[in-house]
Amino acid sequence: MKSFVPVWLAIALALLSAAALKAQEDMRTVPNDAFVSPQRPPSVFVHDAHNEAAGIDECNQCHHVYRDGELVADESSEDQRCSDCHAEEAAGDGPPALMDAFHGNCKQCHLENGKGPVMCGECHQRQ
């Protein structure tokens, strides 16, 4: 029985990845269900179009991995949810709080590159 475990795991991972790929094709907003009571509508984010426009090839430019506070250059984390690492409330020296992480990832990059939305309502669109 033991030998089956990696196989099942591999199948499961493959299925999940496929689902994730499918999901990112369809992705229109950043889900905000990890927040207990989100104050704004979820942020508009069309994954593929964004990355194409922004010229982002590497997944880990956003889906980063930090270990002991250091960015790990060749690993990425698209198999995880942001909230797996970023809790809603930041604890001490740990990773930034989830909202700060989102804003840091999106808005800071937009500011640095002089492109993309930076005002609250440009991402958190009502409708």
């Binding site: 909202m99 930076v118 005002m119 309502g121 440009e122």
Partner: protein
């Protein structure tokens, strides 16, 4: 739009806050030196106990005879001033921007609550506007500057409300919101909005005179 945003949210905000705090400090220092030079007896009569006693009574809704004489105005005035101060300071969007710039944040209000408080401020401003026009004793002492001041105070809330709900022209409305807020901050030290700084001082002085010399209450 990036350039405008960065300009308004950056240097203009810096300038506005510097003028606001610097202006208040300047007015305070000018006042104290003027008192020292011309009316030093004011320091002699100022009393912490009686000053605070008077401020406390006037800070309580219905805590004075005149507040009780005007119940509607009292409720509106207190609601207006509390929301005017609390909504911007504890608005989540403001706290986020401050944290992004300075790395420190503070607890903020749920957006729905801040939204409600904004409505209170706008409604209060409308109430004051109508009162100014309708009540003869207020209209008699009203000049154009009173309407301008009211508009300066109401503008950041009106634009903030429209921008938050994204009713129309979101980006321009947000810029207008930031600029009008900066205008208000800059106006406070140099207009009658300085009552934010001076009212507690004048009240404390009158409270000190009444309590310390006149042995009477002033509420």
């Amino acid at each position: 739009m990036h350039t405008i945003y960065e300009w308004v949210a950056g240097p203009l905000t810096w300038i506005a806050f510097l003028i606001f705090f610097g202006g208040l400090l300047y007015r305070l220092v000018r006042l104290v030196t003027l008192v020292r030079r011309k009316e030093p007896f004011i320091f002699t009569y100022m009393s912490l106990k009686y000053g605070l006693r008077s401020i406390l009574h006037w800070s309580l809704p219905f805590g004075t005879v005149n507040w009780r004489l005007h119940p509607v105005l009292t409720i509106v005035t207190f609601a207006f001033h509390i929301c005017l101060l609390a909504a911007p300071i504890f608005l989540m969007a403001h706290a986020i921007l401050f944290k992004e710039a300075w790395g420190v944040g503070w607890p903020s209000l749920p957006d729905a609550v801040a939204d409600g408080m904004t409505v209170v401020v706008i409604a209060g401003a409308i109430f004051f506007l109508v009162r100014r026009i309708v009540r003869p004793e207020v209209r008699f002492v009203t000049s154009a500057s009173d309407y301008v001041l009211l508009a300066i105070v109401a503008a950041p809330f009106v634009t903030g409300f429209i921008a938050y709900h994204q009713f129309f022209a979101y980006r321009w409305m947000l810029v207008a919101h930031m600029v009008s807020g900066q205008i208000m901050l800059v106006a406070i030290p140099f207009t009658r909005l300085a009552h934010m700084l001076f009212a507690p001082l004048t009240r404390a002085y009158m409270g000190s005179e009444f309590g310390g010399v006149r042995r009477a209450i002033d509420w």
